[in-house]
């Protein structure tokens, strides 16, 4: 038997059951229960619990017994002389009546006939079956097989299979994210064991699930949510063990910062005075508060290795709030169902000094039927799969490389001139006490790229990641210089 618990079908876990019709059913595998698959019969859960994933089972006999079944779909076909010249498409070719077929079906359900036997009967009583082309015969048998074979395949829930299940069943639940788009999101986010990610996931937990699977229980995911509690419904389908489950933390947008009037349960109530239900309530609140505190600590520690957004809300507004917590040279990935919703975000990103090279992509996926002599793209395929907007977080604090002596002198000269200009302006403006400011000369290094610095001072001056106080002082100086240029130049024009 396989040793790793994730390699076997375990009791109590979610399992996808693929049926001959290609429909997939999701069940929770309760020990001792019987799982009904409608017209394909039913099987006993215990018959597959403990087995390795990957086999198909045939239901046979009257007691719903199961046995491993090898799906042999790929048949070479030898071409015959037949063609469809004499095939008339009407109901008369099948000699069995509807009632006869229903009776056969019932026998099949009772386990008195196998799927194969039913299909053979249908074939035998088909008047023109022998006249069909070989390909047509194969197609007929396959089609009937899908109706009468009592074969099922348990499928292990993984990021891919869960994604596929919901993409087909209820794409709105996961905001139309298709498997290929999710796969690219995982690549662009560079998720791996041990990283720390900040996530805004409104795909009911699909994104969080896929990221957690790739981290394998090492690292941290902090999910920002709105409403009473995070809706990560999809997590439950993944059968994660505790170790992986514990890597996922959540924080409400409303609890992002400690409110002015926010009180700890201890501050609200004196625990020594509490008894009975009140004490229980206190412990419950206390526990909830601790979780919030812990998540908040994780958020404010910053140093996130990536930001992944798949939200219904305006991405720019989220980026503005969360970018400060992301480290330099780390990916930012934004997903949205509609390309149009990302256009403004893309423009915003291009202007944002903290983001490098935004890129908008849309994925295209096509599946083909592969059968010997009959390979072609499937007749109906997937429509949209969503769009990704990716960029790299950079540190908006330009550093000047070392200069030669000559270059440094030239730069200093330029700087001195700028200072002189500034002084003149101040004298002209007749402001009372600015002399003290001039003492702090802007370091030569940063002066050249002042324009970029200007934009951030407002938003980021308080951010801890930019660090030293010297930085903030220099930036302010530059801002003043920037301001000073305009009026003085106007004045010269007037003169």
């Amino acid at each position: 038997m396989a040793t790793n618990p994730s390699d076997t079908i375990n009791a109590g876990e979610h399992v996808f059951i693929k049926m001959p019709s290609d429909n997939v059913k999701c069940i929770v595998l309760k020990p001792g229960s019987t799982v009904a698959l409608g017209k394909f019969g039913s099987f006993k859960a215990n018959d597959i619990i403990g087995h390795a994933w990957g086999n198909s089972y045939e239901i046979y006999d009257r007691d719903n017994k199961t046995r491993v079944y090898h799906l042999d779909e790929i048949n070479e076909i030898e071409e015959t002389e037949n063609n469809n010249r004499e095939i008339v498409d009407d109901a008369s070719s099948q000699k069995l009546t509807l009632e006869d077929i229903k009776a056969l079906k019932n026998e099949g359900l009772k386990g008195e006939l196998t799927g194969q036997e039913i299909v053979n009967k249908l074939k035998e009583s088909h008047a023109t079956f022998d006249k069909k082309t070989a390909y047509s015969q194969a197609k007929y048998l396959q089609k009937k097989g899908k109706k009468f074979h009592k074969v099922f395949t348990p499928i292990k829930p993984t990021a891919y299979s869960v994604n596929e299940y919901f993409y087909i069943k209820n794409p709105d639940k996961i905001r139309g994210m298709r498997m290929d788009t999710l796969s690219q999101l995982l690549s662009y986010s560079n998720v791996h064991s041990g990283c720390k990610l900040l996530v805004v996931d409104d795909t009911q937990g699909l994104v969080v699930s896929a990221l957690a699977e790739r981290m394998g229980g090492n690292g941290t995911i902090l999910g920002m949510y709105d409403g009473d509690s995070p809706n990560y419904d999809i997590l439950k389908y993944m059968n994660f063990n505790d170790k992986i489950q514990e890597t996922i933390k959540v924080l409400s947008w409303l609890r992002m910062y400690r409110g002015v009037d926010e009180k700890t349960p201890d501050e609200l109530q004196d625990v020594t005075q509490l008894t009975g239900k009140d004490l229980e309530g206190y412990h419950r609140r206390s526990k909830a508060y601790k979780i919030v505190e812990e998540s908040r600590k994780i958020l404010h520690a910053g140093d996130f290795d990536g930001l992944v957004i798949a939200s219904q809300y305006q991405p720019e507004s989220i980026l503005e709030k969360l970018l400060p917590f992301i480290r330099g040279s780390r990916p930012v990935v934004v997903y949205h169902t509609a390309k149009e919703a990302l256009l403004d975000t893309s423009t915003w990103m291009r202007k944002c000094p903290e983001l490098l090279a935004p890129q908008l992509t849309e994925s295209w996926l096509r599946k083909s039927q592969v059968l010997p002599g009959r390979t072609h793209p499937e007749m109906s395929t997937w429509g949209g799969g969503g769009c990704l907007l990716t960029a790299t977080k950079i540190i908006d604090f330009p550093v000047q490389a070392a200069m030669t002596k000559r270059e440094r002198l030239a730069m200093e000269k330029k700087n001195a001139e700028a200072k002189k200009l500034k002084r003149e302006r101040e004298e002209l403006a007749n402001s009372s006490n600015d002399a003290s400011r001039e003492g702090s000369a802007a370091p030569v290094a940063i002066a050249s790229s002042s324009t970029i610095v200007v934009e951030t001072t407002s938003t980021d001056a308080t951010d801890a990641t930019t660090g030293e106080t010297t930085t903030t002082t220099t930036t302010t100086t530059i801002v003043q210089e920037e301001d000073s240029k305009e009026p003085s130049s106007k004045r010269t024009k007037l003169e």
Binding site: M1, A2, N4, D7, H51, A52, W53, G54, N55, S56, T66, V68, E73, T153, A159, M179, D180, L182, Q184, S187, Y188, N190, H192, S193, G194, R214, G216, D303, R327, G328, S329, R330, K339, L343, S346, Q359, L360, T361, S363, W364, L365, R366, K367, Q369, V370, P372, T375, C387, T392, K393, I394, I395, F397, P398, Q400, A401, A402, M403, E407, S449
Partner: protein, 387 residues
């Protein structure tokens, strides 16, 4: 293009550092001996190994490695001349795919991502990849299987083996990747009951299917992917897979469309006509006097209620006329600018539309991705109740 005068020779020298593509550095600081991706522009991205004595030169100036040391990854570094700058980025498999030296055709992010997702790769798994090629996919796989998983990579071309061995070592991946020179189609993988997944990028993948089957862990499900550009290769592989009892054979193609976002100015027809009128009035003034007079006479009546400048000009003296027309020109220039200004100006006035544009030429096909599942060996299964 950047000339890597100093760095080309010593671009990637092996260093005794644990720095790896497979994980971020805890302090996120560039240190001597680290790998750094220098991002100059989308088309100009270079991987270097920081060496305190080296300098990176390009046409915008030079950057001493010593100046990079101590900076956080993601920092924008200005050149010594102040004319250029670059970004110090942390190397990732995705960046490596963009910059690696091509020894073969390589896999790009669309295929890499889809295959990894379909094969359900995650930390701790073991996998076979053949051939190694330029090592594009190897980097992504190693990152995803890290830290406990393992990649067995096979390549029959000696030079590619040498180059990839060195790269894996330089990139801190050698403890996770076993690279062997081997013709797997002839000699097989020589692995038994060892891996969870197999990826075949070979001219004749069907020749390696039997050996791949032996390499799969016996007691669990196995997933295989083959990557072939031609449909004929797929046909043969499908037959081989089916013969070896692989099931659930599926084929996909996956492409990424890179959308370019643009802000286009958009005029109403009234605005366009206004522009046209301005042009027209300019053109009239450029006509020879004789022609202009006759033209104006002809149109004067029609324009009676419209206040067009030429009507006035007719009666003004030459000097004045010039001054006036200059002034007019100034006005029209201003108007012209407002109508054909920069996107930013348009944006401010709200006369724009944001669009996406697909490149004129884009990738239409990479390869067919063929997937199949190998059920666990039936022998090892616990009792399947038979009477």
């Amino acid at each position: 293009m950047a000339s890597t005068s100093a760095s080309s020779s010593s671009a990637i020298a092996p260093a005794a550092t644990t720095h790896s593509f497979a994980r971020y550095k805890a302090n996120n600081i560039v240190e001597d001996g680290d790998l750094v991706v220098l991002y100059l522009s989308k088309e100009n991205v270079i991987l270097i190994r920081v060496d305190v004595n080296e300098t990176f030169n390009c046409k915008f100036g030079s950057y001493r490695h010593a100046d990079m040391i101590g900076l956080e990854y993601g920092t924008k570094l200005g050149s010594n001349t102040g004319r250029g700058f670059l970004y110090l980025l942390f190397p990732t498999p995705e960046l490596w795919t963009l910059i690696l030296p091509h020894r073969t055709q390589i896999l790009y992010v669309a295929d890499i991502s889809f295959i990894m997702n379909f094969l359900n790769l995650k930390p701790g798994m073991s996998m076979i990849e053949s051939g190694t090629g330029s090592g594009s996919f190897s980097h992504s796989i190693a990152r995803t299987l890290a830290p406990t998983g393992h990649l067995y990579s096979f390549e029959y071309h000696q030079e590619r083996v040498n180059a990839a061995t060195k790269e894996f070592e330089d990139h801190g991946l050698s403890d996770m990747i076993t690279l062997r020179r081997r013709d797997v189609c002839k000699d097989g993988f020589d692995l038994v009951d060892r891996v969870d997944a197999v990826f075949l990028d070979l001219p004749a993948p069907w020749e390696a299917v039997a050996s791949a089957k032996r390499a799969f862990k016996k007691n669990k499900i196995g997933k295989i992917c083959t990557f072939s550009p031609c449909i004929e290769q797929i046909s043969k592989t499908v037959t081989a897979l089916s013969e070896h009892k692989f099931v659930d054979i599926q084929m996909y193609e996956c492409l990424i469309r890179f959308q370019e976002v643009r802000i286009l100015p958009i005029l109403t027809i009234e605005e366009a006509m206004e522009k046209e009128r301005i042009h027209e009035s300019k053109r009239q003034r450029a006509l020879p006097r004789v022609l202009r007079d006759s033209y104006l006479k002809a149109t004067a009546k029609a324009n009676e209620d419209e206040e067009l400048p030429p009507a006035k000009h007719m009666k003004i003296e030459k000097g004045q006329e010039e001054e006036n027309s200059n002034k007019d020109n100034d006005d029209t220039n201003k108007k012209d600018q407002s109508l054909s200004g920069t996107p930013a100006e348009f944006e401010a006035s709200g006369k724009t539309v944001t669009i996406t544009k697909l490149p004129v030429e884009q990738r239409g096909h990479t390869s067919y991705l063929l997937f199949a599942t190998l059920p666990p060996s039936v022998d090892s299964l616990p009792v399947v109740t038979l009477e």
